[in-house]
Symmetry: C2
Subunit: 352 residues, 2 copies
């Protein structure tokens, strides 16, 4: 087959088939589009990969594809944390692989089709509610892949309240204007504003915006209707404690992810050299999923994760040892000042 | 560098450097040999991979290699279950990778050096003790990689007791005459004997011999001194119960391992077709480490593992659903009779 390199989202904006999209755990995925593409490509071996939240739908989807196209479907059984986490071995095993839920990053195999997951929740009401929490008349607006196709609704609602909303450009690993990723805030950092509105679920992305920009961030969840201001202080206090704890350690493991979009080997090697120059024992450890049991037998007293920033920032509590981000390791070594604490970004991260 | 393709064990038998081997958790590994090889190869990036039992030694070994050769060492942080489980991505990241503890299988990247782990326990006493448990005057003798270099001691001790010990040949994934693997008993099956003596630790290998040959097996542990006869009945009863439990299931996941020496995709596809021909819903699932949480969101009511046979036979209790081997799935479908129950072997397995 001709190897396809398409993103569902980019074509779907103007695609009438979109209305036929199926509901997967509240997400809208354009399966008719995908099935038409499979038929057109003559692919006979199809791979399916999805994050845990969408995985339950995969067996039925596999059967649907097999029945409608006559192809053979293989499901990726490993965890999937984002478009940074493409199942490379499955993509090599099949003609065409559908990666569900995430927007494409720049890198990646040519036979992987990204079927973005979208939530068709109107953003007008939540943006109007958030407007009363904003102080500036000109704010940066950002959201995640689930809502970015409706960001114009939010901008219009803000305009109706006399607020100009600006969105950051696509570029690098950010596929859509106005989108942020847990590991990349370059789009919002480029905006000349003093305040941000994040629309979406969870606190990780708005915390990232606040730490990456140093500006006030209001976060608004379109599903719950909750609006609040982001306070970075609790996270920073926890991170300060982790750095203090790691100061006791003499043997550090520097973790490098095997996931294609998280693999920062050269950064890890620089950190290893930096630690050794400070008299520390440093082990370079290459692994796929970072789990507590992976670290037990390596005997390291602390670790630095160069993988997804969430490993250290979201999951710190599950590890028996201090888990730092690269900028936090610099703070520990006093090559970076605490007041210059930086959120770890995989792209546009602090030069080391 | 010239890509090396050597096995430590095969050269070490005549290698004076062997006496300089280091003790790793009771195992003898020839590090001087490995370091000399690294120096000779001019490799500058070295990978280290080991099973959990040897992993604690890796950070110190890494430092030793770095200090003595000036090379840079990367440790594999993923679990490692055998020579079937080569860290392919790490082998691609380095010039030379040392895989500790296991004997080489036939397949595998050319830049991986297998540093076999050996236990220098004399086998004379345990074989002499086992002789009194044997009924035949001509028995098959088998052991694992840790002891195979001393199997002649066992054969001599048996001879002294008037018993002829025969060992199966190397071949296929069996590297040494007299060796068995958890997944391969071809070497012992080829022997024309009515009884076997297994020398080694654990009950999985002697159970495998008993089920693969249908003959009486005496197992003798050189570390504890325990000798006993293998009874396959408890395992067979548990497996019968698992097959009965799986009969309630309508949706099966067929698990295919990504590990290079466990990847039986074509077998899995045959099983999927077989299940579908019997009216079952079948999902083909491709994954690295098989863990209970990998199966939760796939919603399958039972699974068939085409990976390492230990997944179903040793670890069944940890899964929330019935986990069968391929021959057990055939029994469930009544394409194989229960009286023809077969131990799942990756090589020489039952033709499907």
């Amino acid at each position: 087959m001709a190897r396809a390199h398409l993103t569902a989202g980019s074509e779907l904006d103007n695609c009438s088939a979109r209305a036929a999209g199926c509901d997967f755990s509240g997400y809208d995925l354009d399966l008719d589009w995908a099935i038409a593409l499979i038929k057109k490509s003559n692919a006979t071996r199809i791979g399916l990969q999805a994050p845990e939240g969408l995985k339950r739908a995969l067996p039925a989807l596999a059967r649907q594809i097999e029945e409608q196209t006559g192809s053979e479907v293989i499901i990726s059984g490993d965890p999937c944390f984002g478009a940074c986490d493409i199942d490379m071995l499955l993509s090599q095993e099949v003609d065409l692989m559908l990666h569900l839920g995430h927007a494409e990053l720049e890198e990646g195999p040519k036979n992987v089709i990204f079927l973005e997951a979208r939530v068709d929740e109107d953003l007008t009401a939540i943006a109007a509610k958030a407007a009363s929490f904003l102080r500036a008349k000109r704010v940066g607006v950002a959201t995640t892949i689930q809502h970015v196709h409706q960001i114009d609704q939010a901008l219009q609602a803000l305009r109706n309240c006399g607020i100009e909303g600006l969105i950051g450009p696509a570029g690098g690993r950010i596929r859509h204007a106005g989108q942020v990723l847990g590991c990349s805030y370059r789009s919002v950092r480029s905006l000349d504003v003093d305040e941000y509105l994040f629309i979406g679920t969870g606190r990780f992305h708005p915390l990232g915006i606040a730490l990456a920009t140093g500006k006030r961030v209001v976060t608004a969840d379109p599903l719950t209707g909750n609006v609040s201001e982001i306070d970075t202080d609790p996270l920073l206090r926890r991170r300060f404690a982790a750095i203090c704890l790691a100061k006791e350690a003499r043997h550090f493991a520097i973790l490098v992810s095997k996931k294609p979009g998280q693999r920062r080997m050269s950064l890890a090697k620089k950190l290893k050299a930096l630690g050794e120059a400070h008299g520390l024992q440093m082990s370079l450890v290459f692994l796929d999923n970072i789990e507590p049991d992976r670290l037990v037998n390596l005997g390291a007293e602390a670790a630095v994760s160069t993988a997804c920033p969430r490993v250290a920032l979201d999951d710190a509590a599950k590890y028996g040892i201090a888990m730092l981000t690269p900028p936090e390791f610099e703070i520990l070594l006093e090559t970076r000042e605490w007041v210059r604490y930086a959120f770890d970004e995989i792209e546009d991260g602090p030069a080391l």
